[in-house]
């Protein structure tokens, strides 16, 4: 909407409108910056001047936040800002040729803005369209299923300054690709059913019974539903679906039992910052069954006694904002959200949607909370944990989209029903986001315990060499591991399931992932900030033909250091794809060991290029070739 239609509004008016909408509260800094940029294309020094005055915060605070997020621009990036998704699955589907094509079409270099200020083209991390790539974002709107034809049409539309609102709607159609549904994707729960069931529950006796606490502090006793609901979650053995698998009941209970300071309250946060490359299930859940997710959040609020909630939606899913807000509004009208939910006096709970702005690290729960508070998304020092000191230092639960969806079903059908699905240590189902080399990419929901082999068969994968489960920070499985099973006791996963056939170069897969971590490191701690860059340089060194066994040792030392010294999970796992592929696909690395002895990371002959250019020399002495093997001949 930035193009043309907003031009009538002055920058000052935009800033005033947005700031007022967010109650002049700097805690909403990220949302304010994001919305201003939607109207103004970038965050100019004027915008920052105006914001500084309107919010009463130092400009260092504004620039610090603006500089952190990939999708916020403090330099002009054109009226059309195109970001190609650069996950390995986009690469396998040929995104590089398309990027080149568009750049040539528009006479532009990647990373640069055109001289007329019209357009910029750059890369971004996985946009969650792996089942329908290659994909791009244009002014934060997703265009999946790119082809050369569409690229040429896009170039034409850009050249003609056609407003995005007039682009073919078909470009922006995102498919759900639900291939196999189970309890979640096939749920037909009516809005409010789960909540009513939760309310009607009475507490059980015995050791699983939780302490009594009603929706919020000070409610008359006698409403027993919340503790009974917690018992059902306990009985269900529900574990977090973000990958770590922490017990949902323990988290909720800890938050519920956390002491409240005067003026403090509890918060329910839904982590919809689905940034792990190869994952897109939350996009589909929020598209096809948002009521289930929101109902789950409301059940959680009911259980722990919270009045406010947030959905932290990744910026790549900006297009879901209006539909989701419409669902929230409808639920308010149906008394399923807002004041006196279901007619319970004091049963108040409402949800705001906050959008991210291109930062994978905000999927880490404490970084997500920082981001919700309008700050740079830097993971906090822990302890204390969010259940006691979360949003605005108040007790907060952060759960994955899929966890809340499951909680809604547990509210309706009970914990025992849920615990019977799946395996002993992994109750329920898991939605897998399947992409890569297979006939039918998309979503597959299975009870826990399904084998890798089964999934591969169901999605029509053949000649499979490897599967990357749970994204770059997860695990890379080779053929001899395909009988392993999805579940916390064997292969835990947040949902990504990327398939690579025998034609794929697993070294390049790992290199793509290492580039991802380097790009997404928040820069807070030394080992991750510098270490991911060093690792990227080493992988590039191998890629460029300068590898030797020395570099292997370096990779191993760096991995050790990142694992032991990093501040958060990003640094701890950044080496996983390399270590896994070295172990399981060694020939892909051996091919890169082009030298027996240490070789420099850069091309020495190319290091003379500027001097050759300036002197016009091209004689033998103006070149530096690899050292000869005969001793002394060099001289």
């Amino acid at each position: 909407m930035a193009l043309n239609e907003m031009r009538a509004e002055t920058t000052a008016a935009v800033v005033e409108r947005v700031v007022a909408r967010y109650r002049r509260d700097p805690v909403n800094m990220l949302q304010i910056l994001r919305e201003i940029q939607e109207a103004c294309d970038w965050l100019s020094p004027d915008v920052i001047d105006l914001l500084q005055a309107a919010l009463g915060v130092p400009r260092t605070k504004i620039e610090g936040v603006a500089g952190f997020y990939s999708f916020l621009y403090t330099q002009p990036r054109g009226q059309y800002r195109i970001l190609f998704s650069d996950n390995i699955t986009d690469r396998m589907l040929g995104n590089q040729a398309l990027i080149k094509r568009l750049c040539e079409n528009l006479w532009l270099e990647p990373g640069k803005t055109s001289e007329d200020g019209l357009v910029s083209i750059d890369l971004t991390s996985c946009t969650g369209m792996c089942d329908q790539g290659p994909a791009l974002l244009i002014n934060n709107r997703a265009i999946p299923r790119l082809t050369a034809t569409i690229i040429d049409e896009i170039a034409e539309l850009v050249r003609n300054w056609t407003p995005l609102s007039e682009w073919p709607a078909a470009y922006f159609a995102v498919e759900n690709n639900i291939r196999q549904a189970d309890i979640l994707l096939g749920a037909c729960m009516k809005p409010g059913e789960g909540l009513r069931a939760a309310r009607e529950r009475t507490p059980s006796d015995g050791f699983k019974s939780s302490n009594m606490r009603s929706w919020r502090e000070g409610l008359p006793s006698g409403i027993s539903g919340p503790s009974a609901m917690l018992d059902e979650i306990k009985r269900a053995n529900l574990r977090g679906r973000g990958g770590a698998g922490f017990s949902t009941a323990l988290k909720w209970e800890a938050c519920r039992n956390a002491q409240l300071q005067p003026g403090h309250e509890r918060f329910v946060v839904c982590n919809a910052d689905e940034g792990e490359p190869g994952t897109f299930k939350d996009r589909v859940l929020l598209t096809t069954c948002p009521d289930l997710v929101i109902e789950g959040m409301t059940v959680a609020a009911y259980t722990i006694g919270a009045k406010r909630g947030f959905i932290y939606l990744r910026g790549e899913y900006r297009y879901l904002l209006e539909p989701l807000n419409a669902v929230l509004e409808r639920r308010r009208n149906e008394h399923l959200l807002g004041k006196d939910i279901l007619g319970i006096a004091g049963g108040d709970f409402d949800i705001e949607i906050h959008l991210g702005a291109g930062a994978y690290i905000c999927g880490e729960e404490s970084a997500l909370i920082e981001s919700l508070e309008g700050k740079r998304g830097t993971p906090r020092n822990r302890p204390p944990f969010p259940v006691t000191n979360g949003y605005l230092d108040q007790p907060t639960i952060v759960n994955n989209v899929e966890t809340y969806a499951a909680a809604a079903l547990i509210a309706l059908n009970g914990g025992d029903w849920y615990a019977d699905i799946g395996t002993r240590h992994s109750a329920g189902t898991k939605i897998l986001s399947v992409s890569g080399d297979c006939e039918r990419p998309g979503l597959y929901e299975y009870p826990f315990g399904v084998s890798i082999r089964q999934v591969l068969a169901d999605c029509g994968a053949s000649d499979t060499q490897a599967v990357q489960v749970s994204g770059p920070s997860g695990v890379c499985l080779g053929v001899d591991e395909f009988d392993r099973r999805i579940g916390f006791e064997d292969i835990p996963t947040a949902g990504a399931f990327m398939i690579f056939n025998q034609s794929r170069d697993m070294f390049e897969v790992a290199r793509n992932f290492v580039h991802f971590f380097q790009h997404e490191s928040c820069g807070f701690c030394t080992p991750c900030r510098v270490g991911t860059s060093l690792l990227k340089n080493l992988m590039d060194k191998l890629h460029n033909g300068h590898g030797s066994p020395y570099d292997f040792a370096e990779i191993e030392n760096l991995s050790q250091l990142l694992q032991s010294m990093s501040h958060c999970g990003l640094g701890h796992t950044a080496c996983n794809p390399v270590l896994d592929t070295i172990e399981k696909f060694r020939p892909a690395y051996d091919k890169r060991m082009e030298h027996d002895q240490f070789a420099p990371a850069f091309d020495l002959d190319r290091a003379l290029s500027e001097a050759r250019q300036m002197t016009g020399r091209d004689d033998a002495g103006a070149h530096l070739h690899a050292p000869r093997t005969v001793l002394g001949e060099e001289a």
Partner: protein
């Protein structure tokens, strides 16, 4: 150092993009040079004016970083002919003063020096084939060949050089304690 050594170790030294300050410091080990000479003999070195390394050098000591093609050739000769290579001083270790040009493109530097600066009106960038071409950036030597030991300092003190060499001759892992270890 008390046990007699049967065969003297061959030591080669050179200065690449350095100022010879480290070599001066080497001479600062003073009368201990005589003790040292009971155990070593100098091969290629500015001290001997031998032009090329013997193929069986034991220790190569390199001062200075890499700023041009010739530096690379010399460094490679040392690596090919010395069992142990020691980076001597700040420039060899991190590029030092010459590397402070690294944030500027070489083209800009050559333009400024030969075309723009006063006093060289219509100056030409030297292009004689006898002259080694400068590298786009100055590099520490460990970025181009494997280096076994490092003696930091600008320059390292004679005592620090003495300490590392005597440690090596005695078969100990070289170590510099407080006072000997400095980067300036």
């Amino acid at each position: 150092m008390n046990a007699p050594v049967k065969k003297k170790l061959k030591v080669a030294t050179t200065s690449l993009a350095g100022c010879f300050g480290c070599h001066m410091s080497f001479l600062d080990i003073d009368e201990r040079l005589f003790t040292l000479l009971e155990h070593i003999e100098f091969d290629r070195s500015p001290l001997t004016d031998i032009k090329h390394c013997s193929p069986d050098c034991d220790i190569g000591i390199i001062e200075g970083g890499l700023c041009n093609a010739e530096n690379v050739h010399v460094l490679r000769e040392f690596r090919a002919n010395c069992k142990i290579l020691i980076a001597l001083g700040a420039c060899a270790i991190n590029g030092g003063l010459p590397a402070q040009r690294n944030h500027l493109p070489l083209t800009t530097i050559l333009e400024e020096v030969y075309h723009t600066s006063p006093g060289l009106a219509n100056g030409l960038i030297p292009n004689d084939i006898e002259l080694p071409l400068p590298l786009n950036q100055v590099h520490p030597i460990h970025e181009v060949v494997k280096i076994d030991y490092f003696i930091p300092g600008c320059p390292p003190s004679g005592d620090a050089i003495w300490k590392v060499l005597t440690d090596l001759l005695a078969g100990r892992e070289p170590e510099l304690g407080h006072g000997l270890m400095h980067y300036d």
